[in-house]
Symmetry: C2
Subunit: 362 residues, 2 copies
């Protein structure tokens, strides 16, 4: 399945707005503003992140190579994988570069607005269930995941595959999946089908698409996408912080930016997520207002959660709505996210401007 | 004339979009996005800044009191003022809090977007021509300008008038006007009519509306709007920097945010201004691009100047257009404006996101 046929399939009988293309080749695309109304992002609106041209990927002949520090290195077909017990979970996935446009100065990388985040229902096999069959050697320290997509990034010394490693603890988590379905249907090619890793709670770069090889490493992986990209490089700091779990973040989905509302009671609502659970969501109106607790809906562990808050709007004019979430470790979204060279982890508090009463007569 | 009647007058035969109300009482309102197409802002779209309720102001009985360190303290009627030689000049006026919403954390004060700036043709009498008739004493160091509007700001100790002072050098500049016309018609009440000070090149707070008194001071003025507001208060810095000349700034007015354009050649255009002249305007496409010189149109000394640049758009997808201006002293707009408590002087480089080619099919 190609991008084009995916889009065509999506056109059959749907009236949803399409994704917003950030770059056409390779395809990078955001969810449309309309998509925030869905707790589960429709597959044809799910954001797309590609590093290289999409590779050939035929489900019938697809196999996964297992090698390195394993007792039983081998090749696994999709049919063999599907014969293992399956696991389904709902998880929000966010690109580490989401909201990169919010950084000033502008950072290197794809100019993502706020739409490089989606929530899907993933079905696959727990990676640990497969690993139990091939048995890691005690010398293994990381697992390396290699996609079938490859190319030469502008600043690299040559062609390379998209590869990322995971520490064993995260790789062996029962929720780390070898996924072959999204939202109850075979995983579309543009989302990494027929097979991708899904690492719930982590930024999307960990969820390697078109997964073709797993290698058990006896040394930490130091490849391009592990050490040169997807690290926080802050001015004046020598440390390069590797990205992992998603930082706590929230979004107002109603009312929309620039909306004009009558005086009276309005429901302000949205979603909040983090790699490690959302404890609290608060809303503020204008600078002078106090932060007030929103009602936080329940939901699956790795999925964004809806929240809502009732606004008694009794003052005409322009107002600024802000939302902030706090994770279970007590981390609250910052007013300003720490600038870093590649523009990752922008979880700054969002401001939405709305008008109460009427604009001046036209 | 009241706000309401001004609006009503504006409605007679016009089809322009109205201002965007930031607060209704007192009236604070931005120019609508449509207004950027006009080099001279139409009067009924000119931004409005009020600190207190608009005062009674009848042109027939209006007079200006002159007092303090003067040889000839007296009262001047509008008719007497109009009998002096008049002067007309085009000047851009910007609220010091314009783009306050761009600061994070959010700052105290009116939630201005980008529309608290306008350009008008002002007609009046040079302040120096009036002062020549009343003669300053040699002990005078500043002139204090008092508006007829008064009230109690939330954090002040009581009621006070809107008052600002000017150093003698600026007050005696031949372009500092006692203005009674805007765009060739009597100055509307909401813009400070029948009489306001106009201090070209300075932030709008200096151009005192409903001007009712001028006092020659022998000590620098230390009132609320001089020392408590309209000063830059930066975290960790003891110095409170008083605001004066407008910092260099620019704006892309076409294409508009979120526009989708076909591949090919497009004109990117906008305006640039500063309190002390614009020397250079440059445009950049995406992070990797170099800054490229725009064509800068000529114009009156204190008015914003139009610029344009031709974009050969040959790559589909999402792009970020940025513009930056440099003033004649060599100051260039910053990527990030220095945060300050009240959110003044946000002249950070603007980014406009546009799409080349098509969004994904709906």
């Amino acid at each position: 399945m190609t991008t084009t046929s995916d889009t065509r399939a999506g056109e059959q009988g749907r009236s949803r707005p399409g994704r917003i293309i950030v770059s056409a080749n390779p395809l990078n695309a955001e969810i449309p503003p309309d998509a925030w109304q869905h707790t589960i992002t429709p597959t044809d609106q799910f954001y797309v992140r590609s590093h290289f041209a999409a590779p050939q990927a035929d489900a019938d002949s697809w196999s996964l190579q297992l090698s390195g520090a394993l007792e039983g290195a081998r090749e696994v077909t999709l049919a063999e994988l599907r014969a293992l017990p399956t696991r389904t979970l709902t998880a929000t996935m966010e690109c580490a570069g989401n909201d990169r446009l919010g950084f000033a100065p502008l950072c290197e990388g794809e100019p993502w607005g706020s739409g490089a985040v989606s929530t899907g229902v993933w079905t696959g096999v727990a990676l640990r269930d497969l690993l139990a069959r091939v048995r890691l050697r005690p010398t293994a320290v990381e697992l390396l995941f290699t996609g079938a997509d490859a190319g030469a990034p502008p600043d690299s010394s040559g062609a390379l595959a998209f590869e990322r490693s995971l520490p064993l603890a995260k790789a062996l988590d029962p929720d780390t999946l070898l996924a072959f379905e999204l939202n109850g249907a075979p995983l579309p090619h543009i989302h990494g089908g027929p097979l991708r890793l899904v690492v719930p709670g982590w930024y999307g770069m960990a969820s390697v698409k078109w997964l073709t090889r797993i290698t058990a490493l006896e040394q930490p992986f130091a490849g391009y996408f592990q050490r040169e990209r997807y690290v926080l490089v802050r001015p004046g700091e020598a440390e390069r912080v590797p990205l992992g779990a998603m930082a706590v973040k929230s979004r107002i989905t109603a009312p929309s930016e620039g909306a004009t509302l009558p005086m009276g009671s309005h429901t302000v609502s949205g979603v909040a997520w983090s790699g490690s659970g959302v404890a609290r969501v608060e809303v503020r109106v204008d600078h002078d207002g106090a932060w007030q607790a929103a009602r936080l809906h329940d939901g699956p562990r790795y999925a964004w959660r809806r929240w809502e808050w009732t606004w008694e709007a009794d003052e005409p004019g322009k107002h600024v709505l802000q939302v902030r979430a706090t994770d279970e470790a007590g981390n609250t979204q910052p007013d300003v996210a720490a600038w870093n060279q590649f523009g990752y982890v922008n979880n700054a508090i969002q401001s939405v401007v709305v008008y109460i009463g009427e604009r001046e007569a036209a």
